[in-house]
Amino acid sequence: MISVKNLHKYFGKLEVLKGVNLEVKEKEVVVVIGPSGSGKSTFLRCLNKLEEPNDGEIVIDGIPLSSDTNVNAIRREVGMVFQRFNLFPHMTALENIALSPQIVRKLKKDEAVAVGLELLRKVGLSEKAYEYPERLSGGQQQRVAIARALAMKPKIMLFDEPTSALDPEMVGEVLAVMKDLAQEGMTMVVVSHEMGFAREVGDRVIFMDEGVIMEAGTPEALFNRPQNLRTKAFLSKIL
């Protein structure tokens, strides 16, 4: 589903990704962990072309991401959820969800609204359809953001620390939605340090450090028997 080979990304002279290789199968859930500044966000953003890689090869669902591929076509297949939600503040929850199906997928308004209401039901927020984001809690906003990404019917979902801007009591409701999604067979790449989620839902955990994947394995193996010294050091800090 996702194939990344020898990915390099520079910001000016700073090399942030130093040759990342990763294959993600259909329906697989990959959890990415690693210290701050290790390039996790940058890696995720390369997967939907919010960042332009300097070298390497990315193939998404059979489509190679080169500089002349239609970015918008790729982005339609790859949904993204951000740490800071990024809901559109001038639109209600429902409008946030129903907008892009109309203007990008060319759905009729009532079809898009039906999709939106169904997704709001799915994330447990039917009664908040007509609220503006400022009236929603962080957890609710993030669930709307997930619904918004799902409205485009993506084949892959990327999550960049979706719960780290949330108060602790709201983390669970967002992880529950993500877990449901994984069980429905969504292919997911999740940057998150929620170990419980990684163990329960993750098929594979990847430890990223200094722009490369240092170690990868099942959650069980990576958390209980890390081989790499840096992985050990990092895990001892967060566990």
């Binding site: 503040p89 001038h90 892009s100």
Partner: protein, 224 residues
């Protein structure tokens, strides 16, 4: 010379007629400025360097030279450059044109600041949903930027209203020029220019009051 206030009172209808022209001139110029400003702001933020260079040159030139000189350039120099006979209404046209071109540069900067004040995450979210740059601008960025742009646009309107007195130099019969004509005939400078000043003041105060109300309304629904 004895100060004669009755001249001011008798001249009031003429002065008010001038004030209406001042308002027309300002409204026309700012309307033109909004169109130019929108184009220039987008050009300045564009990825294409020729567009960026053009907009930067335009804005620098119009903000870096005196409006008075710009008025002369449009009124006297343009007919010479483009070989045309100025039509009858040319002072009016040249006045709006010069002021519109000028305020376009200032409004471009207002729009640019407004667009750039919107969090980057907004356009990233829009783009990640498959929207094109243009769609993100139209549905996500501009609706939010508009609200932040209204107060500075109002200030620009007030600034233009005052600066419009400069077009008196090309015999455009707006408020200040009307006053000048009356002073020429009656020599009552203090009552007439005093009245002219008061009329300007009444207009700018009224507009800034309206602006205050609008701002408070916008403030209530802060981000929406």
């Amino acid at each position: 010379m004895v100060i004669d206030w009755s001249v001011a009172i008798r001249s009031l209808p003429i002065l008010l007629k001038g004030a209406v022209i001042t308002l027309e001139l300002t409204a026309g110029a700012v309307a033109m400025g909004v169109v130019i400003g929108m184009f220039m702001a987008l050009a300045r933020l564009s990825k294409r360097w020729p567009l960026r260079a053009f907009a930067t040159a335009y804005i620098d030139f119009l903000r870096g030279t005196p409006l008075l000189v710009q008025i002369f350039l449009v009124y006297f120099a343009a007919p010479q450059l483009f070989h045309f006979q100025p039509p009858d209404k040319y002072p009016y046209i040249a006045g709006i044109l010069a002021m519109g071109l000028n305020s376009g540069a200032y409004i471009a900067e207002i729009f640019r600041a407004g667009i750039q004040s919107i969090d980057r995450g907004q356009s990233e979210a829009a783009r990640s949903l498959g929207m094109t740059q243009a769609q993100a601008l139209r549905y996500i960025i501009l609706p939010q930027a508009i609200k932040r742009v209204i107060p500075p646009l109002g200030n620009e309107f007030i600034a233009m209203l005052k600066d419009s007195s400069l077009v008196a130099v090309i015999a455009m019969e707006e408020l200040f020029y009307s006053g000048k004509l009356i002073v020429g005939n009656t020599l009552q400078s203090f009552p007439i220019y005093g009245t002219v000043a008061l009329i300007y003041l009444a207009m700018t105060m009224t507009i800034s009051r309206i602006l205050g109300v609008v701002e408070r309304r916008l403030g209530k629904s802060d981000i929406r």
